[in-house]
């Protein structure tokens, strides 16, 4: 009878370390795998932005004929009064709206984080900052669009003016929430440990808070973008905002000749809705991936 256990006949295997390049590759692969949702979301945004910006760069300036043509061969969405294909013109107009909303969302949330940081820094010495958060909370009762409309009525329209005003709106509407995030971190173990170790308030905030708040802030800005674009479209539609070559401007132009050339209203509207829905889904993905369990070293 043979023995139940097999006996190794070859030379014994050496307990050697894997090559460094393989370890480095494995580390990179693991990092990509853990952050796959973040990378996918970022690729989605990049793809969308490059698509819109490329379309705007190659838009045919057309010939101002003041005559529009219905959808037909070669121009499935018709031609507008500037002699441009409606599909291309709609995408090019979207570039302005998306850029303005993107800038306003990130500027606004950035300002909010800085203000929240300031409030968190002085919380122990000056609790009177609570009134600022309350004002921010109460500011939400007035329609943001009306706020911007009042200022625009006096100040006029323009790209940077709109970005500035929308950033202020974002600041007012998010300051309270971002201050709550800072407050949420007050009772965490890291903060208490930092205090026991004798770190200053500023050092504690830098060490414990910023990574957490920045992640959430980016996600918040991403979710605000579609709403800001909708606000910009509404403003441009009534004659403010980014002028006639933006999405709102195109819709206003189309509404003026609604019964004569309905394709000038119908198709841009569909493109706007589809883009906003995509951005909304991307924002949702961003929020999900940023709040998820991702390695802190990524930030």
């Amino acid at each position: 009878m043979s023995s139940p256990t097999a006996v190794a006949t070859g030379p014994p295997e050496k307990n050697k370390r894997r090559p460094k390049w393989r370890e480095a590759l494995a580390r990179i692969a693991a990092r990509f795998w853990y952050g796959r949702n973040v990378y996918l979301t970022a690729i989605g945004y990049l793809f969308l932005l490059i698509f819109f910006w490329m379309t705007a760069a190659f838009l045919d300036s057309g010939s101002a004929t003041s005559v529009w043509y219905p959808p037909g061969d070669g121009h499935l969405f018709g031609i507008n009064a500037r002699g441009q294909d409606v599909f291309h013109a709609s995408l090019a107009a979207g570039t302005k709206s998306i850029s303005a909303a993107l800038l306003a969302a990130f500027f606004g949330v950035g300002l909010s984080i800085l203000s929240g940081w300031g409030i968190a820094l002085s919380r122990r010495s000056a609790p009177s900052f609570v009134w600022l958060r309350r004002i921010s909370r109460y500011g939400g009762f007035c329609p943001a669009l009306i706020f911007v409309l009042i200022i625009s009525a006096g100040w006029g329209a323009g790209f940077w003016k709109l970005v500035f005003l929308f950033s202020l709106v974002v600041l007012v509407f998010t300051l309270s929430r971002i201050s709550d995030w800072f407050e949420e971190l007050e009772d965490r173990g890291g903060t208490i440990a930092a205090e026991i170790l004798g770190l200053t308030r500023s050092q504690t905030i830098r060490a414990n808070y910023i990574s957490f708040v920045a992640k959430r802030g980016i996600a918040l800005a991403c979710t605000l973008i579609p709403g800001l674009i909708l606000g910009e479209i509404a403003l441009s539609f009534v004659g403010f905002g980014l002028g006639p070559t933006s999405w709102g401007g195109l819709l206003a132009e189309g509404m003026r000749v609604l019964f004569e050339a309905p394709w000038l209203t119908i198709y841009p509207g569909f493109i706007i809705t589809a883009t906003l829905l995509t951005l909304s889904l991307l924002g949702w993905m961003a929020r999900k991936s940023m709040n998820g369990d991702i390695p802190p070293r990524m930030f």
């Binding site: 007035c142 329609p143 009042i150 006096g154 509404m255 509207g269």
Partner: protein, 283 residues
Amino acid sequence: MIRFLVQRFLIALIRLAVVLGILGLVTEIAIGLKGGDEPMRHVWQWFSAKSFPPDFVPRLMASLRVLLICWTVVMILGLGIGIFRARLRQAKSLEIVWLPFVALTWAPAFWLIGLVALWLMERWGHPGFADGQAPIGGAETQAVNQWWHAMILGIILAAGAIGWQFRTCTTGIRDSAKQGFVRASYMRGHRRSIIFYDHVLKNSMDALTGIVDRGLPATLGMLAVSEWAFRYPGLGQFMIESARNALPDQIFIGAAIFSTIAILMSMIAEWIYGGLDRRVRTS
């Protein structure tokens, strides 16, 4: 209970004062930015009856009519779909049923108005805008026409707002359903429907009563632009016309009314919340 109601009323008054202060400041800044020799009405000059435009009350009533229709539809459908979606949260394939509502959230209301006007033109041969003749009745049935136009505008606005409201409602209920007592009830063998309707819903009153006021300011903003697009003689149209004529002082009063409506609705939501949940009013 009375103490709770009075307390929330006083808080609403403070909120109103703060919001009016912010609005007044913003208006004065806008007047300052405009400059020029044109005489402007300052915020404090609005507090006399002579300052109001002559057609102010009919415009306010017209806007309230739209808001009544819109918000009734939003509350009924938002609450209904929100609860239904939360109850069927395990059926992931059903999510596609709600997708049209989510898509409508991102469709500009004034664009939908254009589509409805086109459809009315095709169907009845009338442009369908509020300044034209309504397809039902004639000049003699003016009241019916007013409600007809308000209904078109209200339902279009509601279509956009429902998507927001039912998602907020569902998220709140789902958060409640994750609590420990729900799992314990399952483990003890209680029926799913009893756990959901008797316990989870009662513990998510914040989300359910939030239907009354959350999202209202955004809808009010869109109402102003939609009124202008639909040529509907409401307060929103008045504000947009004032902005187009570079008269920031004229917008103040409309904005103040819209903010007051939002604050009132918020107070009503808090009253309902406190009335339904003893823990809130006694805390």
